[in-house]
Amino acid sequence: MTSPGAARVRQGGNLALLLGPSVLLIGVFVVAPTGYGLYLSFTNTQLTGFAARNPQYVGLDNYSYLLGSDDFLESLGHTGNFVLWSAIIGQTVLGMLAALLLGRKWLRGKGLFGAAVLLPMVVPEVVASLTWASVLSPRDDGTLNRLIGLFGAGPVAALQEAPMLCIVVVNIWRGIAFAMIMFQAALEDVPDELVEASRIDGASAVQVFRYVTLPLIRGPVFLYLLLTTITTVGVFGLVYFLTQGGPGAATQLTSIYIFERAFQYSQIGLGSAASVILLVVLLVLGLTYVRLAKVDV
């Protein structure tokens, strides 16, 4: 870990020269906006209307407004649901399934199956949304409607009738690959001998997974859950493209709520306060992650 010669090196100028650009970039474009957002959240800054001419310090007004606003609390609820069903349940189950199945030695066509699962992760999110817009099209010949038509069910306007379910499915679809990659890495550390021995002792595949494999990969799985939670809270484009938060506010995630407040209603102060609340939640999750990940520096 420690580079033996490092201490002997003349530091000072070199260090500033080498690390300076990184510090500058991150400082100006990541840290400064965060701090500035905190400041804005205590003002009633607006972009339009007569009130925009002299923004004022309003203390905690924005926060008390948000915490008493059904719209905002609902958006937090939507984000919570979205994370729970798409990331924690959907992606994890299907990702684990894909990782286990692709780990079978007798399975042929691993490359093909693997590539298929990876495709949704590799394409840009706008393309992902676009493909699903065609699947979920309310028209009779939309892919979903053709599919359920095979079972005799009538055409549905899925994005209107079950909007939350739709965006959950889309996000599961997009995230299977990442879960799979993470779990494959974890499964590599499970000794084959152990699994084989349990099988010979008569344990079923489910029992082997439950009592042998899972305990061994619990750590990585938990880290994955934390990480996917954090990234899923940040999802914006995938959902905005498909529903723009609607119908009603049925798919208004907090990220979309912030965008609409700040840029459609021009209420920068309020939008910033919502950002800060989101940020605090994420930082708590993030700190937990950094502590548990025990990353080596």
């Binding site: 972009l47 339009t48 209307g49 007569f50 001419r53 606003s69 723009q244 459609q264 209603y265």
Partner: protein
Amino acid sequence: MRNRAVIAMAASALVVSGLAACSGGDAGGPVTITLLEYQQARADAVQELIPEFEAAMAAKGEDVEVELVTDVLTDSQFQTKITQQLHSGTAPDVIDMGGSHVTGLAGAGYLLALDDHLADWPGWAEYYPQVKAQAQQTDGHTYSLPHEAGVQSIFYRKDVLEGLGVDTSQPRTWDDLIGRLKAITAKTGQPSMLLPAGTAWGGGTWSEGFLPIVAGTGSTFYDPNTGTWTLSSEGLSATFDLYHELTQAGLLPVQDLLNPNPWEPTKYVKFPEGSLPVVAQGTWGWRYDWGPEGAAPIEDVQNKVATWDYPALVPGTEPYSVSGGGFAYGVNAETEHADAAVELAQWLSSGSALARQLVAIGAAAPRSGISDLEPYKDEPTLLDAEEKLKTSVDAPEGDGADQVSQAAQNATEQILIGKADGAGAASSFASDAADLLGPGLVAK
């Protein structure tokens, strides 16, 4: 090599702000004015006029060039974008926009007050008083030059209604109209009237759906003297009840309204094919939507389509049409060439240039002196709208209209998705709008 990269990086990040700040104006050379259009048809119409304007200026010895910026946007996209551009000082010199956008932008100080320029301009005296009154903002100044007037009416497919045996005379009351709509729906099995509602339609829900109905109820909605909005009234309650009744009776195309781009399946498919034969709509339907070069042309539109005034909603009122919704030119307050920019706006709002734009869009003239000019004089539907303008009801617009519009979109959406009835929507509208407006803009 790496050294140079580091220095270049650090330097650029630090210095860029300074550089970008010092872009100076060029004195002496030709003056270039940028003009933003966000609807393709308007851009096409103006594109042809620009060389004439430049020639007219050259004849006066002024070297002015106009650069047309065409960026096709929906209303809410435009709203977001122009706000950002004006805020950051990167907006074009002249902005052509729907009248409902003007208030919010003028309020924030982004638009140039045109009072002095207009006072010196003979053309302004020819504007109809209603148009002038609407263009004036709460602070008493005028920040935009309207170049068209729209009249909101109820458009219907005469051929379809006659085919179905439904009365096409002017309905006196909404009950009367709803009776006819039910008859149509009973025969076709489909929704029969499009009234913009919900959030997907954006500003149209406000200016083409909600506002025209409220305006005819006689209840005070916006009071220009106090600059405040009255958020609950008999008229508002009646309006929400109407939306609820239309929704419950299956007369509105609810699914289409909830989709993104709700105008596509309705105005551009079902009205032209006749399966959704009644649409609340502004004058521009004649050209912009259904004209020969419109988004969804209807052959022989003049004979197949006709208009009604809005029927009376509240007892004691009469059928009416509503003026408003026309576009206006605003001038960026930070423009370096204010005189030339205003001159462009005035030139485009005069004479043959105006007549040609009005026909391209399908709007009534906001001023006298145009009705005998080619090609406008050959458009009976537009001339008729200009006539109606003189007796139409004003749609109230004031500071905070954007916010009230948002609240109306949300409340009507609640009705569409079945989460609220008329009274529920009215009360959620009142609290929502009060929230968005803040205390200063709400009537006690």
